[in-house]
């Protein structure tokens, strides 16, 4: 059983999650005992195709995501982020290596019972209403109907789609679809959330709302694994980040450590470009 | 299939149908007979393929006559023919398969799901073939076989000789040189309506037209025998006997003809 030190009254909260840093730093959390990571990736390899046309998408990734943290997953286009996400969700099987989600292989359907996934883009069924979509996904996840009847209206309030839950989605804009996408990821009250470009297509107000929601989820003990090209957002909300480049982890750790200790206070963007060899 | 695509397809289909038939009417208005231009648009749309569709409709009528089981009846001269209707010999091409192993379960299922009996429609049930004969003639107004078969079944099997005559007369407008339609009209006037004068007119016309058309001796017998019987019924032995003699020359072994000639000339 993990015990977390309570937040001291005189603790200064600074950008980059200073409060969180003190909590995760063993020197500042005398009662902290390390829990098993919610996601464990060891020596993950994946290759597309075979023979001369094969492409090594992942070349030995090692990663652990702790429970209750927000992990930002960065990388240039074609780095292997989507492949990694698909393997975490059990959509692809690893060629080599080991992936454990909540102690089980993600290829087992049961391991995804408390996982929520928000894809980068999804043109949800145009002939359904958002409410029907969430009920459908809730049924697939095995959530009780009585629970869904309470949870789904809350989710629509959360994503600011309260008055539109009964409208067919064929009339929805990209931003509205994105909100629906986020809502469906939460329908089974997941412990582990995988978000692919969660703020893509959202207006500034909605983006801020999304960031606040993710922080709120973290406070409730949820784990968030998200991929984004918006480095400022990543810097703001992530506890740790991982930079993927050409199928390998180029850097991984808390943002302030990567930027402050190792890179003399430079911006995340410059650090990112440096890690992927473009600087 | 999106409903919009289906709607667009239907709109285009009917537009082409209307345009094609308007062009067709424009051509026909100059040259063709009145009734050809009056053929329903849907049937004119098929163009030259009408002949094939029309013949398929006749085959369907034949199938219906045999309870839905495919069956081909061959006249000695080739092709279906009104004149050869009385013949009993035919080839059964469907309904019998080569023997298959009793352990071949799929073959056994196929054998038992298919209908393979052989029946002929009787009595009032014959009316079921009329739609196909009607369609056949509507699709191709020059399909003489469809027209004459329709006339035959209407007059003889369905007891509607007046309707048969009206229909055959309409068919004659599109096929004025058809000896078959003239012969069928003559037969109906003779056998069903008792109008011997009209029968003579049509059968004589049929005889004249037949000389210029390819035909076999059985078809010639069909026309000559009805004409001869009609003259006989009118009491005109002078015209009947030469016809019987012609028949006797065609079928020298038919003793009934010789007896008939002897009776009429004695």
């Amino acid at each position: 059983m993990t015990t977390v030190a309570p937040k001291p009254d005189n603790m200064k909260i600074s950008g980059g999650g200073g409060y969180r840093t003190r909590l995760t730093d063993p020197l500042h959390r005398p009662f902290y005992k390390k829990m098993a990571p919610i996601l464990s990736i060891k020596d993950l390899h994946y290759t597309y195709g075979s023979g001369k046309e094969s492409v090594n998408a992942l070349r030995g990734i090692d990663l652990e995501i702790d429970k209750g943290e927000i992990f930002g997953f960065l990388g240039p286009n074609g780095a292997g982020k989507t492949t990694t996400i698909k393997i975490i969700l059990g959509i692809l099987a690893p060629r080599r290596g080991r992936v454990e989600l909540g102690g089980k292989s993600p290829l087992e359907a049961a391991s995804r019972k408390r996982v929520g996934y928000m894809p980068e883009t999804a043109d949800y069924y145009r002939f359904l209403t958002p409410a029907e979509l969430l009920y459908m996904y809730g049924d697939i996840c095995g959530v009780e109907r009585s629970v869904l009847r309470e949870r789904i209206p809350e989710l629509f309030r959360l994503v600011d789609l309260e008055g539109l839950s009964g409208r067919l989605m064929r009339t929805f804009s990209k931003g509205m679809m994105q909100k629906v996408s986020f809502a469906q990821a939460l329908v089974n009250d997941p412990e582990f959330l995988v978000l692919d470009e969660p703020t893509s297509g959202l207006d500034p107000v909605s983006r801020t709302h999304m960031r606040d929601t993710l922080n709120h989820l973290r406070e409730r003990g949820k784990t968030v694994f998200f991929s984004s090209h918006e480095l400022s957002e990543v810097e703001t909300i992530s506890d740790r980040i991982g930079i993927l480049n050409r199928g390998e982890i180029a850097a991984c750790g808390p943002v302030h450590e990567l930027l402050g200790e190792k890179s003399e206070g430079q911006s995340l963007e410059n650090y990112f470009l440096k890690m992927i060899g473009k600087h | 299939m999106r409903s919009r695509s289906l709607l667009i397809f239907l709109v285009w289909f009917f537009l082409i149908l209307i345009i094609a038939t308007r062009i067709d009417t424009f051509n026909y208005a100059f040259m063709a007979s009145r009734s050809a231009a009056d053929v329903p648009a849907i049937f004119r749309f098929f163009g030259e393929g009408r002949n094939i569709v029309s013949y398929m409709a006749i085959l369907q009528a034949d199938r219906y006559y045999h309870g839905g089981v495919g069956h081909i009846e061959h006249a000695e001269g080739g092709g279906l023919s009104v004149a050869s209707r009385g013949r009993d010999s035919y080839d059964e091409e469907e309904g019998h398969h080569p023997e298959a192993s009793p352990f071949n379960i799929l073959f056994r299922i196929q054998d038992n799901t298919q209908v393979t009996g052989h029946v002929h429609l009787k009595g009032d049930k014959v009316k079921e073939i009329i739609p196909w004969l009607y369609f056949s003639a509507e699709i191709d107004p020059h399909n003489v076989l469809a027209i004459t078969l329709t006339g035959f079944y209407l007059a003889d099997k369905l007891d509607k000789p007046q309707e048969a005559v009206a229909y055959l007369r309409k068919g004659l407008l599109d096929n004025p040189d058809s000896w078959e339609i003239n012969a069928e009209l003559g037969r109906i006037y003779f056998q069903d309506l008792g109008n011997y004068k009209a029968a003579v007119d049509f059968l004589s016309k049929a005889m004249e037209l037949q000389k210029q058309a390819p035909h076999d001796k059985f078809q010639e017998r069909y026309v000559l025998s009805f004409l001869a019987h009609t003259y006989e019924a009118l009491g005109d032995k002078e015209k009947a006997v030469p016809l019987y003699r012609r028949l006797s020359r065609l079928f020298p072994k038919d003793h009934r003809l010789r007896r008939k000639i002897d009776d009429l000339t004695s």
Partner: protein
């Protein structure tokens, strides 16, 4: 099971909210009404051509619904990228295939039932004597037919796009319905390797001709014996299970 039912419900809503089904239903009603109103020389009670054509149209329209709805399921999910959030849920690929297949079956059965009711109405009011067991067998064979069509289409959708799937499915239907007899005779007359090849083709091809009750219904032949009905049902079950097994085997290995 609940996951499969959820997928099926979604597909039913698709059928109900699109216009395709209603267009086809109106088309059927108009055609049947036109046929029923035809007057051939004032002869009353000419019904067989209506029963014949009506049944063919009902089967064709149900086939269209079955093929077009089922063929688009997997390709549309992949194209719209909705397959990823779906498979990220605790849903096995087998359940996904089962849900899409059964959804296609339910959707096409719903359509077929309505079409068959319309057909049945014209059938019993046509004037000629009718047989309830024969009508029931016609319905049952139509149901089996649609089970088989959906299984075939789901299997093919693993390998081809929506339009290719629809085209191939129609071709298979036309070829099997038209040439099954010819192939059988050819097998029985052929010798050697050709006989074996043709025999294999005969067993592999979906025998849609088994479900054709058109002649029996239109021409009032006797209903089929119970053992034949059972044999066809077993054949359908076995064939569908084979196709579904291979479908899920292929889909499980598919990189999405």
């Amino acid at each position: 099971m609940r996951a499969v039912l959820a997928i099926i419900k979604g597909m039913i809503k698709d059928l109900v909210r699109r216009k395709d089904f209603y267009v086809l239903l109106v088309f059927l009603l108009v055609l049947m009404a036109v046929m029923a109103s035809q007057n051939f020389f004032q002869i009353k009670g000419v019904t067989r051509y209506m029963r014949d054509l009506g049944y063919s149209i009902v089967m064709l329209l149900s086939f269209i619904i079955a093929v077009t709805f089922t063929a688009k399921q997997i390709p549309a999910e992949i194209e719209a990228r909705t397959i990823y959030p779906l498979l990220a849920k605790p849903l096995t690929r087998y359940s996904f295939i089962a849900g899409k297949y059964l959804g296609g079956v339910v959707v096409s059965l719903m359509s077929f039932t309505v079409f068959y009711l319309v057909y049945g109405l014209f059938f019993v009011t046509g004037g000629e004597a009718w047989s309830a067991p024969l009508l029931a067998q016609g319905f049952f064979f139509g149901v089996l037919f649609l089970f088989m069509v959906c299984a075939m289409v789901i299997f093919l959708s693993n390998f081809m796009t929506f339009s290719a799937n629809v085209t191939i499915s129609f071709l298979i239907y036309i070829i099997v319905s038209g040439f099954s007899d010819t192939l059988r005779d050819s097998i029985l007359r052929a010798k050697g390797v050709l006989s074996v090849i043709e025999g294999v083709i005969f067993y592999i091809m979906p025998h849609f001709d088994f479900f054709d009750m058109r002649v029996r219904l239109a021409h009032s032949w006797d209903p089929l014996p119970a053992w034949v009905v059972a044999a066809v049902a077993v054949y359908t079950l076995v064939y569908c299970l084979f196709l579904l097994y291979f479908s899920q085997a292929v889909f499980s290995r598919r990189k999405l």
